[in-house]
């Protein structure tokens, strides 16, 4: 088939087939299969050292997998050098050429591929405007703020119309305000682009904000991959739910008998209409579903002794004990609690996640 047809017929996609990465005797990535489609933003969500960066470097061609294959647009690109592929990457550190101006930095990938100078000017101008860098084109990176430096790096990644754009915790080194600002803009930047975006982050809130698809990753394994909201609302298993929860999810063992459920220490009991067999389960409750006030149609009380209460401007995080378990609750507004105080909190029963003995989600059919 002539190459013309090939590119027309193949839908743009990036596929990892049984990709595995070992360094010495350590396994960094266990055999992994994942297929990313065109025009999607894909979030790799996992803690530090979960293998996000390794996975991205394998996707980019900066690192070779020990086993397995990488397919791009129906072509096996395993071992194909990164220079020969149309990839761009943005790092946690603000990586720009130190002796170049912002303009020269953004133009650098175009210059190497031999784009003529008029087109360079036009394309750099467009991207710079998109990223609010137009006024800084003649400055050097070290004259810019962290946010502007990262915008420059983003512009460099966007200007060359890559098929694959990899963002490795791009907001992690920014201070809070700049991070919020850029995080809101990010999804819009990729809206009309024919490319696959991969975004690695340690923060569940990033994934929710960005939307698209999310893969939860733990210790070198992809736990679950799907639409971000699906992964959040219906985690396949307890591990995925834990990765996608910050503050950490509350987990307790319960037993179900008819329509009555109770914690195994008998401290809390509630009616439930989930359609699962009677028996023992684990429940996962996200901190924002335990509040100092009633929320939802179906709540149940829990008594707690306050361990710590952390107040931020708009939220209150209360850690408390109930029986032998430690719990975390997240309420809106300022909810002042004293350490050691006995208090009553309300759990939103409809939002409980039920897991069976194999830690698989059983409600939310």
């Amino acid at each position: 088939m002539p190459p013309f047809f090939k590119t027309k017929l193949q839908i743009m996609s990036l596929e990892l087939k049984n990709v595995e990465k070992k360094v010495g005797i350590e396994t960094h990535i266990y055999p992994t299969n994942i297929k990313l489609e065109k025009n999607t933003i894909n979030v790799l969500l996992g803690s530090t050292l979960a293998g996000k960066t390794t996975l991205m470097q394998i996707m980019a061609g900066l690192d070779k997998p020990t086993n397995g294959e990488i397919w791009f647009n129906g072509e096996n690109v395993t071992g194909k050098q990164v220079q020969k592929r149309n990839v761009s990457m943005v790092y946690q550190q603000f990586i720009n050429y130190p002796s170049f101006t912002v303009f020269e930095n953004i133009a650098s990938p175009l210059k190497i591929t031999g784009v003529n100078s008029d087109e360079i000017k036009e394309r750099v101008g467009k991207v710079a405007e998109l990223l609010k860098l137009s006024a800084m084109l003649n400055k050097k990176p070290d004259e810019l703020s962290g946010g502007q430096q990262q915008r420059t790096a983003l512009a460099r990644a966007l200007v060359k119309d890559s098929d694959l754009i990899l963002l490795d915790e791009p907001l992690a080194n920014l201070d809070f305000k700049l991070r919020e600002e850029l995080r809101e803009e990010l999804p819009k930047l990729f809206e009309d682009r024919e490319c696959i975006v991969v975004y690695a982050t340690t923060e569940p809130s990033d994934a929710l904000m960005i939307g698209g698809n999310t893969a939860t990753i733990l210790e070198g394994k992809i736990i679950q991959y799907g639409k971000t909201l699906d992964v959040y609302n219906k985690p396949e298993n307890l591990t995925s739910a834990k990765v996608f929860s910050d503050p950490p999810m509350n987990i307790a063992e319960i037993s179900k008998n008819g329509d009555t459920c109770k914690l195994n220490d008998n401290s809390v009991q509630w009616k439930s209409n989930v359609k699962i067999k009677d028996g023992n389960y684990k429940i996962g409750i996200r901190p924002h579903n335990i509040t100092t006030y009633k929320e939802g149609n179906n709540t149940v009380e829990i008594n707690g002794k306050v361990l710590i209460s952390e107040l931020s401007g708009s939220e209150s995080l209360i850690h408390f004990t109930n029986g032998n378990l430690n719990w975390v609750s997240l309420s809106n507004g300022i909810q002042q609690k004293n350490i050691g105080e006995n208090t009553k909190l309300f759990m939103n029963v409809d939002e409980f996640l039920y897991f069976d003995e194999n830690n698989r989600l059983v409600n939310h059919g």
């Binding site: 900066l62 990457m89 170049f100 591929t113 050097k140 004259e143």
Partner: protein, 288 residues
Amino acid sequence: MNKTINQKAWFFVVPVFVLVAFNAAIPLMTVVNYSFQETFGNNVFAWEGTRWFKQILLSERFHDALGRQIAFTFIILLIQIPLGIGIALTMPKKGWGVPVCLILMSMPLLIPWNVVGAMWNIFALPDIGFLGYSLNAIGFDFNFTQQPGDAWFTTILMDVWHWTSLVVLLSYAGLNSIQPAYYQAAEIDGASRWATFRYIELPKMKKVLTLAILLRFMDSFMIYTEPFVLTGGGPGNATAFLSIDLVKMALGQFDLGPAAAMSLIYFFIVLLVCWVFYSLMMKNEVKS
């Protein structure tokens, strides 16, 4: 604003004043004193004004020594800086090779100047030295004690051997502080090895290289011990650099006035070059 008067602060400042006075100011003022006077025996002095300065600045002997000095320093920098960067680039970044290389590189720096001079003197002797004998054996007419060209060649070789390591170690430190992400970014852009060096490594090494050039400039411009032991400034005056010539004048001929004037001129040249060079290199840094 109200200023608080606190005389106790003198406690902290006075020791520094005393130290600097004994360390730098008083010896320097002694030299200044000599440079404006004719010195006779028994502490008898006569005022001469700027006569010694004029004499030195106009003397052919000083011009020749300064010319040799500038040529020597220029050649040294031209060889040692690129060579040092080159060696640093080829040094391993991890594994057992790192300590081996670092120790090998530090060795020449640990050897006393005198010993280096003596070592190279023996090493280069045309009749018994390994280098001198070998060069003659393969057909070169090499004799550093009699031929000026050979004396220069040996002196430069000795200095390169002794001091390139310093540039290597500084460059290596600079290179190691570059985050791997920079190299990856360059790789993704498809930048060549040269472009990576030119646009990432070199700018990132700018500060340590500035330091390396400054140190090598000062050291080579003030070089004394090694050529003194190796050639004694000879043959004739071929390797009589500024320091060697200065010592000859001050201690050999006991011309204290002109020698003092020459010391000051020498000192100001070093100071001026360092200042100009440093301000040029750091101009952009200060702006940002």
